[in-house]
């Protein structure tokens, strides 16, 4: 019987565009023709995206085989067929966008090298291959996510200003500098993020070291309640001749929306699950990816598959309304992408079965709830007590936390709740409020070493 092995990176090899030798980095920085200071993109004064996170995820290989800001031909192909020019499937345009005034001030043209500074220090270079214009960002936003007319299999409602991903694309500046990024001054991840930083090469090495042949990924942007914990544990029973050897938690860390938990609490909350021994540390690894969520449900799930395959996972849990907001997409859109495919996005069969598709295996899961009759955390497809069931409604749990009521063990492990309170005390608030959202984009998740250029 064939046993499942670690899949190759998407595109065949891991992209790694990080110069680790500071002297070499300095030399590359000195060759640049102009300097640009990275800043967060805003919508009505609220941060919605920081391109630094895309540069990090591209250069450390999370988005392999993408190597930089995309050319017009590449963006057009993605919008039409969800493929890169080298054929590999990819869901979203990723571009380095600036204003006309900024282009004028920089005075760069194709062939020039741009030094990108972050927090006032040298960070990366962009080798400009092409400068192109986005004529109509609203149209680009619609084409990125789809419309009910063009994508009737999965899109139920036209996207609008309440959809964060749509706002990100609609807010793009008109000028795109396309070309490869190279990080020339390696950032230092700040605590608590530093100990969860496992770029694909490192995570693959870690799984080999641990002897994890099969690894299932859990996508998160939440502090884990008991329902999440049981999803992780039970989904991990898949595998091949035995359950998956490892459970990888990969948190999406980026721009937050008011009401989300702070990223610090999310990542340490997941760690508390293994420190408390509920899933022992030998079987569980908490990691993260820097990315400002687009909430594109099946498209986001395609990106999630790419990231986690690159990290060396063999399986990926997907639930209903995966990475969704509102009711724009059918709640099973992700499961459709991974089962029968979505023809209007260019996939007449499962994303696993198309040429240049994904190798990571989906584990499509339903719901977990507490059942007083079964007297356990039950799986919705097992438990027949639909009348008695008690769901872990997200807003219910958030309301309980906000009222300061110590949650029973059947909702949060006490170790996990203590993490929420630890960061609540630090930020003066249990969730992301306007102050947190704004300050986070100043603080970011990294510091940069001095580099004298």
């Amino acid at each position: 019987m064939a046993m499942i092995e670690t899949p190759p990176p998407h595109g065949g090899r891991l992209v790694e565009r990080v110069v680790t030798d500071p002297e070499m980095g300095k030399k590359l920085a000195k060759k640049c023709d102009a300097v640009y200071d990275i800043k967060p993109a805003l919508s009505d004064g609220v941060p919605i995206r920081n391109v630094y996170r895309e540069i990090m995820s591209i250069c450390y290989g999370f988005f392999s085989p993408v190597e930089g800001s995309m050319t017009k031909a590449e963006v057009d192909r993605i919008l039409k067929e969800r493929r890169l020019l080298n054929e590999w499937v990819f869901p979203y345009p990723l571009v380095f966008d600036i204003t006309e005034e900024e282009l004028k001030d920089l005075g760069v043209t194709a062939g020039d090298k741009l030094l990108l500074r972050l927090k006032g220090k040298p960070f990366a270079t962009l080798d400009i291959e092409e400068i192109w214009r986005i004529d109509n960002p609203e149209e680009l936003a619609h084409k990125t996510f789809g419309t009910p007319e063009d994508n009737p299999e999965v899109v139920q409602e036209a996207f609008n200003a309440k959809m964060p991903g749509w706002v990100i694309y609609k807010s793009l500046n008109p000028v795109v500098l396309a070309g490869k990024y190279t990080i020339i001054n390696e950032p230092k991840l700040t605590p608590p993020f530093d100990r969860f930083w496992y770029p694909p090469r490192k995570s693959r090495e870690e799984y080999a070291r641990r002897g994890w042949r099969t690894v299932i990924n859990h996508q998160t942007r939440n502090v884990p309640h008991i329902g999440h914990e049981f999803l992780m544990k039970d989904a991990a029973y898949t595998g091949d001749i035995e359950p998956c050897h490892g459970i990888q938690v990969n948190a999406i860390i980026g721009v937050k929306r008011a009401g989300d938990y702070p990223d610090e609490a999310i990542i340490e909350g997941h760690e508390a699950v293994n420190l408390g021994g509920y899933i022992k540390p030998e079987r569980h690894l908490v990691t993260f990816t820097l990315w400002d969520m687009r909430y594109g449900n099946p498209l986001e799930a395609m990106l999630h598959g790419i990231i986690r395959q690159n990290m060396g996972c063999t399986h990926h849990m997907f639930g209903r309304d995966h990475a969704a907001v509102g009711e724009y997409y059918d709640m099973f859109a992700t499961q459709t992408l991974y089962s029968k495919g979505i023809p209007s996005y260019g996939f007449p069969v499962s994303i696993n079965d198309v040429p240049y598709g994904l190798k990571i295996r989906p584990q499509n899961m339903r719901e977990f709830w507490y059942c007083p009759v079964c007297n356990e955390i039950a799986y919705s497809e097992c438990c027949g007590h639909t009348k008695e069931k008690q769901k872990f409604s997200g807003s219910f749990v958030r309301g309980m936390v906000a009222e300061g009521i110590f949650p029973p063990k059947v909702i949060f492990r006490p170790e996990v709740y203590k993490v929420i309170v630890k960061w609540w005390d630090k930020f003066g608030y249990p969730f992301c409020n306007a102050k947190y959202v704004k300050e986070k984009e100043v603080r970011l998740e990294v510091d940069l070493p001095d580099m004298d250029v």
Partner: protein
């Protein structure tokens, strides 16, 4: 369709209703690990709450959620005072809507950390 609102009870709130009839109306949730009152609301009362607080929403269980913390606190205070779980409690809370909104405005900036 009927709407509901849940009032969670921790040890402090349990003390406040000790000895009253309300003790017989406690719902045991999550296998007895969480105590709560469940108020059934008339459509008119549910609408009044939804209209008063723009954050309020109805979840998949037909429960009104995401009301201000000050609303929940005032609601419990009125229940403890009147020993009732009917529409009259909601009416009493809604007479204080301006004060609740004022408190709620501050809630989006700061909430005191619970003592563990």
């Amino acid at each position: 369709m009927a709407k509901y609102i849940s009032v969670l009870l921790d040890d402090k709130r349990m003390d406040a209703i000790k000895g009253s009839d309300l003790e017989n109306k406690i719902d045991k949730m999550f296998g007895g690990q969480l105590n709560a009152f469940t108020l059934e609301l008339s459509d008119a009362k549910a609408k009044e709450i939804m209209d008063a607080f723009f954050t309020a929403r109805v979840d998949s269980r037909s429960f009104i959620t995401d009301v201000p913390i000050a609303f929940s606190r005032t609601l419990f205070a009125e229940i403890a005072k009147t020993k009732s779980l009917g529409d009259d409690v909601i009416d009493a809370v809604l007479t204080q809507v301006d004060e609740i909104k004022e408190a709620a405005a501050k809630e989006s900036e700061f909430l005191p950390t619970p003592v563990l």
